[in-house]
């Protein structure tokens, strides 16, 4: 009788049981292939939002990477592709799940999210925005570990000297993404290092040069350049609420 019981103990649960349970409680994330300006990527999401934008390749490899990096299970769900594609194309509106990030990383990524397409900001600007002006290097590290590149546009953060800086996917990809958004990298190099603030005639606000589209300004654009924020204030102008001139160097 005891031997019979031992044989009965060897019953195996059906193959899909774990996945079904995890899916039902929201612990099984999904991913699909999405096309981006820098080629196809696997994009994954939990019930809370986009969790990862990663290397497209072997499914097994992505599933392993995902588990190692986020400690969660993920399965391919091609039906998610249209929604994930839209999220990558319009990252500002997409829900993003940054559960695996620490509060500092989250602040950095949220500030980075506010940078519009076609614009760039220096690392120091992000550090100022999140109230940690001394943490420029840590901002760089947080952006290098951005789990959702493209959706949170860490490629729009460049060095204060106007050079393009590092990118998790390689400097070349960063340059090509910025160019895809119409950014003129020479113009960035020219404007970024200056302390000047700019004011477009007829407006009431003044901006840092990088707040304007980082593309060559046409001649008919009536830009007035001040040496610093104080001069602009003295003229009765107010600082722009997007680029916050007068904070970061």
């Amino acid at each position: 009788m005891m031997k019979d019981f031992a044989a009965m103990r060897e019953v195996q649960a059906p193959a899909g049981l774990v996945a079904n349970v995890l899916r039902r409680v929201g612990l099984l994330d999904g991913y699909a292939l999405v096309s981006t300006p820098i080629g196809p990527r696997f994009v994954a999401a939990s019930q809370a939002g986009i969790t990862a934008v990663g290397q497209a390749g072997e499914d097994a490899e992505f599933i392993r990477y995902y588990r190692e990096r986020f400690g969660r299970a993920v399965e391919r769900r091609d039906e998610l592709a249209p929604a994930l594609q839209a999220a990558v194309e319009n990252g500002r509106k997409a829900a993003v799940d940054l559960q695996t990030c620490n509060p500092f990383q989250r602040d950095v990524l949220e500030a980075t999210r506010s940078i519009p397409s076609g614009r760039v900001r220096p690392y120091a600007w992000i550090a100022e925005r999140i109230g940690r002006p001394g943490a420029v290097r840590a901002v760089g590290t947080a952006l290098a570990n951005n789990p959702v590149p493209l959706v949170i546009p860490c490629h729009r953060v460049v060095r204060s000297d106007g050079s393009i800086g590092q990118y998790a996917l390689g400097t070349e990809k960063k340059a090509s993404l910025l160019q895809h958004e119409g950014v003129d990298l020479d113009e960035v190099r020219r404007r970024m290092p200056t302390q000047n603030v700019w004011y477009e005639e007829g407006e009431e606000t003044f901006c840092r040069p990088f707040c304007f589209d980082a593309r060559p300004l046409p001649a008919e654009n009536h830009i007035v350049v001040f040496r610093n924020a104080a001069e602009a204030r003295a003229r009765g102008l107010v600082p722009c609420t997007t680029c916050h001139p007068g904070i970061a160097a």
């Binding site: 009965m8 649960a13 995890l22």
Partner: protein
Amino acid sequence: MKDVSPVTELTGRRDDLADRRAQRAIARALAESVDAHFEEFVEKYQHRLFGFVLTLVGNRGEAEEIAQDSFVAAYRALLTYDVPRRRELALRAWLFTIALNKVRNMARRAPASSLDDALAEGRVATQDTSLGPAALLERDERTRAVRRALGALAPRYRMPVVLRHLEGFSYDEIAEVLDQPAGTARANVHRGLALLRASKELKGATS
């Protein structure tokens, strides 16, 4: 009869201890973070829970559904428990209690073909064989006969026998799951085993 778990008899006390240690480790991990460790918990108990439910309901489809529902219920409950409560949980007994309640509720929901009636009439056995041998993953005719005999036992004997001899629960654990005194659990296990040995399903089957 010696109070030694049959699992211990078969696999050695060291494995039983290892199992208890693993159980405590998962409880501690779940106390830390339910979401981070719930998968581990399901992985660890899926076969045992499914096997347990299958023995009780005799149908793989229903057993899978109940096992899934039990894990989902366990997840939701874990989220409502505070850290000390999760850390102190006797996970296996707790999980099996959830499953057992689901089995009972299912029987209550469908009184026309209730589990107990089905078992009393021996219909579970018919359901079993209708699924075919491949689906049942059973070693041989003899195991099927034991399963049929077990299915034909009254639930008050079947459940303690299953918990004791298939799942290796202690009498205290059985008492907790079935919500009865340990002495009653022990008596029912012994009575159930005696009934099983004498059952008509096992008459003529070679051991």
